[in-house]
């Protein structure tokens, strides 16, 4: 017999679960740039038409089945049977028209109002179903670290690295930086540093523009700041850990004033960004794009998706309306943040070159567990958003009547199993590299090294969403 936990009783829910959540490095600080700082060191401007990619990493393994829900009668019946304690009410789902392709109808989670509206009005949102690495050869399928490693590297080898790993966007950054050690072409805002780390390229890390300067409330601040900088610029004096610390500080010092200087005059035209979470980060990125900083890849992330228990605590379907549960609210936050970001870029006339990709390390089990949550699973939807994106629903939706079961599942439980793959995640990366960054296809696999792990890569390309 299941006893109601204290958390349920208080309605506070527990969304974090095992918390493979990212450090939410959003200080929301209000430290103003130095008065009178000049834009002295110019890291250059991004030339018009240069493609920009923003990867949004949902840490913990987002539950795809409650994000994009199948509407065909038998599929939906199976959905309800698999999740007696977690199913979303049919009348609250946000139905999507088919868009490109002829696929089973699907709907979005009730929290994703803004994104659903954007899907219909601007046709710039693509939903790609059934995404995962290949089942049989991939290491660490249900393991956060290994699966995040696969997601960020575009490889299948999990986290058993024998050499320093690089991210798939990082290897793109290697090409974009062209050996320039001062390049800031890839910037990590807490979306997975490995994603944007190349074989040679080291990303810039920021938590926010406003807080990107050392605070020295001590003595004669200007004098101390000057000596502080001199110390960090002492090249050739240190080795190992000491030297790597110095170089990171030197880089930060070189850039701190400049980034703020180039973005301070940003006119805020959109006020729909959420005040926390992804909101302030995406606003900072909008500023950097507006300021034409030579940054082409950004990594952002959001934690809280490892919803093992009380996944949707607080959800209530009343006749007067639907009260969003915890997972619904997470998705609502993503939806609101991305829509605000897109509208902001549009308002400033810089949306044309930006593609946003929303990913997670794995989906979750088709069935819920006895804690009204879901355990680690397999395939899940990926979202792409941008002016160049051809809005629609792509890739077959993996049938909930045809789950990936193993012997253990069928022996012990009648309803259990994982959502099958219909889309290899590498094909999505490839499509972005080819169609957004204009990398010739032969340079991606084989001879090139952008996606060097081709194991079990079937011949099927992803549908043309971009």
């Amino acid at each position: 017999m299941k006893t109601m936990t204290r958390r349920q009783f208080l309605g506070r829910g527990a969304l974090w679960a095992c918390g493979a959540g990212v450090i939410n490095q959003l200080l929301g600080g209000s430290f103003l740039s130095q008065a009178g700082a000049d834009c002295l060191q110019d890291p250059g401007h991004l030339s018009p038409g240069s493609p920009i990619l923003v990867t949004v990493n949902l840490f913990g393994g987002n539950d795809g089945v409650n994000t994009v829900i199948p509407l065909a009668a038998k599929e939906f019946a199976q959905y309800e049977a698999l999740r007696p304690n977690l199913k979303l009410p049919r009348r609250r789902l946000l139905e999507l028209d088919e868009g490109a392709g002829h696929l089973p109808r699907v709907a979005l989670n009730p929290g994703m109002v803004d994104l659903a509206r954007l899907f219909h009005t601007d046709r710039v949102v693509a939903i790609l179903n059934g995404v995962s690495p290949p089942a049989r050869v991939t290491s660490g399928l249900f393991d956060h670290e290994a699966s995040q490693a696969n997601l960020q590297t575009g490889l299948l080898s999990g986290s058993g690295f024998t050499a320093p790993p690089s991210g798939w966007v990082g290897r793109l950054n290697d090409r974009l930086a062209q050996g320039d050690e001062t390049s800031i072409v890839g910037t990590d805002f807490g979306g997975g540093t490995l994603m944007v780390t190349g074989n040679s390229y080291r990303p810039l890390s920021l938590s926010s523009l406003a807080s990107f300067q050392v605070r020295i409330n001590l003595g004669d601040e200007e004098v101390l700041r000057d000596y502080y900088r001199q110390i960090q610029r002492l090249a050739g004096q240190f080795e190992g850990v000491a030297e790597s610390n110095r170089r990171i500080r030197a880089r930060m010092i070189d850039l701190a004033d400049e980034l703020r200087c180039r973005t301070d005059a940003y006119p805020q035209l959109v006020d729909t960004y959420p005040a926390d979470g992804l909101g302030p980060v995406l606003l900072d990125i909008a500023k950097l794009i507006w300021g034409r900083l030579p940054i082409q890849t950004y990594a952002v992330g959001l934690g809280g998706f490892d919803t093992h228990a009380n996944q949707n605590a607080g959800a209530e379907d009343q006749d007067s309306g639907y009260v969003l549960g915890e997972h619904d609210r997470l998705l609502a936050h993503v939806s609101q943040s991305l829509t605000a970001f897109y509208r902001d870029l549009q308002a400033h006339g810089v949306a044309r070159d930006v593609v946003i990709l929303v990913v997670s390390e794995f989906g979750r089990r088709a069935n819920s567990n006895n804690d009204a949550g879901t355990d680690h699973g397999f395939a899940a939807p990926v979202f792409a958003l941008g002016e160049k994106v051809k809005g629609g629903v792509y890739q077959p939706y993996p049938s909930l009547q045809d789950l990936w079961l193993d012997d253990y599942d069928t022996e012990h439980f009648s309803e259990s199993g994982n959502v099958k793959q219909t889309t290899d995640f590498r094909r999505i990366y490839e499509h972005i590299l080819v169609h957004h960054f204009r990398v010739p296809r032969p340079e991606i696999y084989g001879g090139g090294n952008l996606l060097p792990d081709e194991r079990a890569l079937g011949p099927q390309l992803v549908q043309d969403f971009l």
Binding site: M1, K2, A17, G19, V137, H144, Y227
Partner: protein
């Protein structure tokens, strides 16, 4: 250049190098693997035995002293530094393993640990008190190991916000700082905080839907075995997959996850009964009892783990306390051959070097794995063997690791004889440096194993250095700053810039400053009597310099 200095000093200190060839590498220390005490009844044997070629009786160098105090504790204080320099680390190390002394450190509370006015908000005060213990406790290794277990069995208060659970968990780690490992694994399975964090709380094995697998998975992956099979030298074992590619061999399968989840069902955390409706938080001072077990929620069917079957027990014979069920599971995990290399590499990565790749480093792993196996998984024995081994103090191990933000903060306060009052642990240190006691941000704690460099990037160094400036400053309106600059100047008769630099490098670094850094700070200080404000500025510059970033 630094390495040459270290090597020369070490050669002088350690004397004969033949000891390095001995398996287990005991140099100058007796070995009592059961309690980790030196040979002899009560520690006095160390002096009497005449053992201690080098370390026990000869004066140790500043570097060695600083190394032990930073790695096994939270940094040198002027007093401990002087003692270790004079006596060598052996007597201090012996004390750190002395069971009677460890017991006293728990039983006799320093009044500085008691609740008092502090900057922390309700609940976070427990974390602040632990910081205070880290700074002041004479049982430095006990505190460092309690923190080790907190990071190893990572769980965060920011899910349930039941602070008393984390206070209790901290006490549990302190009481078991040096093991036994079995009690740690059994205890953490029944721990109220962990039950909440990894969802084993109320996990029902007899419901229609399958039990939650979260705890079972992490128990194997993070706590007891690691994700991959390891050799006796700590190398990942690779196998060929169907396509002929080399892939890491998993240490456990999904079947094991599910079977273990079923075996560990039936437990529920015990929560406080009162909460503040204004804050929505449980009363942080209300004591709670242990977790409870409900036999009717335990899956009594047979389970097979690693080829061993735990027999079905659905009759009246099953243990209604749940203790047997947990012990059965933990015994199987500890019997797994991976447990030894997993724990040994965890210890070495935290205390010795993050990358264990050279033949010498792998031999160190191998030697300690033998100690682990021969002692039945005795944590104290393994740590004793590690810390008394000459490899622990090799030049490539001294001042070559990244400092965590917490080590940085405590090193500052201890080195400057400072106070934890006025230090806003939660808002400044924790938030900006992503390292809050009680709040590891992920299952991998504050950083992935062996990836301490993730604690340092352009964003995080802003936080570290800002916080260093805060510690060095004298906040307006706060009579009790983090350290008493004027007092240090007076007591140590500091007048000139060189004297200030000597003091700061001695006590903050236990090593000389890099000459170019020293010259710059000297330029800052200028001529004439060093003022308190200048002293603070110099302390900040050194604490933000590369010299201070290394452990």
């Amino acid at each position: 250049m630094m390495r040459t200095v270290v090597a020369t000093v070490l050669a002088g200190v350690l004397g004969a190098t033949s000891a390095a060839a001995r398996p287990g590498g005991v140099v100058g220390f007796g070995n009592d693997p059961v309690a980790g005490r030196p040979a002899g009844q009560n520690g006095a044997g160390l002096k009497q035995s005449g053992a201690g070629a080098g370390l026990a009786t000869a004066a140790s160098s500043l570097l060695i002293a600083g190394h032990f105090l930073r790695r096994l504790g939270f940094g040198p204080t002027p007093q401990e530094l002087a003692v270790l320099q004079q006596q060598g680390p052996a007597p201090w190390l012996t004390q750190q393993f002395d069971p009677e002394r460890l017991h006293q450190c728990i039983a006799q509370l320093d009044p500085r640990y008691a609740p008092g006015p502090g900057p922390q908000s309700v609940g976070y005060e427990y974390a602040y008190r632990w910081l205070t213990r880290m700074v002041y406790s004479p049982c430095q290794l006990q505190e460092k190991m309690a923190l080790f277990w907190h990071e190893h069995f990572a769980s965060s208060v920011n899910k349930t916000f039941v602070f008393i659970h984390f206070r209790d968990q901290e006490s549990f780690f302190r009481a078991h700082a040096l093991g036994p490992l079995r009690e740690l694994l059994v205890g953490i399975t029944k721990d109220n905080a962990m039950l909440g964090w990894l969802d084993n709380d109320g996990n029902d094995g007899n419901a229609e839907t399958p039990p939650n697998e979260n705890y079972a998975r992490e128990l194997m992956q993070l706590f007891a075995l690691g994700p991959y099979e390891l050799t006796e030298r700590g190398d990942i074992v690779f196998i060929k997959d169907q396509a002929g590619t080399q892939v890491p061999k998993p240490a456990y399968s999904e079947d094991e996850v599910k079977a273990l989840a079923r075996q560990l069902t039936g437990w529920s955390a015990t929560y406080p009964t009162h909460y503040d409706p204004n804050t929505g938080l449980y009363n942080p001072t209300e004591e709670v009892g242990p977790a409870t077990f409900d036999l009717s929620a335990w899956d009594c069917r047979a389970k097979t783990l690693f080829g061993t079957t735990i027999a079905e027990n659905c009759g009246n014979g099953a243990d209604s306390t749940g203790e047997t069920q947990v012990q059965q599971a933990i015994n199987l995990l500890l019997a797994h051959p991976n447990a030894a290399p997993f724990f040994v590499t965890e210890f070495l990565k935290k205390f010795y070097k993050e990358n264990l790749s050279s033949p010498e480093e792998k031999q160190f792993v191998y030697d300690l794995v033998q100690v682990f196996r021969n002692s039945g998984g005795n944590v104290a024995a393994v740590l004793w063997a590690a810390f008394t081994d000459p490899r622990f103090v090799s030049p490539s191990a001294v001042r070559t690791m990244y400092k965590t933000p917490l080590e940085q903060l405590t090193n500052m306060i201890r080195g400057l004889s400072g106070s934890t009052q006025g230090v806003d642990l939660h808002d400044i240190w924790g938030y900006e440096t992503a390292y809050r006691i009680y709040e590891p941000p992920s299952v991998f704690s504050f950083y992935r194993p062996g990836r301490k460099n993730a604690l340092v990037n352009t964003a995080l160094v802003v936080g570290r250095d800002s916080a260093a400036a805060d510690v060095a400053s004298n906040p307006p309106g706060n009579d009790v700053s983090s350290f008493d600059a004027a007092g240090l100047i007076a007591r140590n008769h500091i007048q000139t810039a060189d004297q200030a630099l000597d003091f700061l490098s001695q006590n903050l670094l236990a090593a000389p400053l890099t000459p170019a850094v020293r010259q710059l700070v000297k330029n800052y200080l200028g001529g004439g009597q060093v003022t308190a404000e200048q002293f603070r500025g110099a302390a900040f510059l050194i604490m933000a310099s590369p010299d201070f970033q290394v452990n």
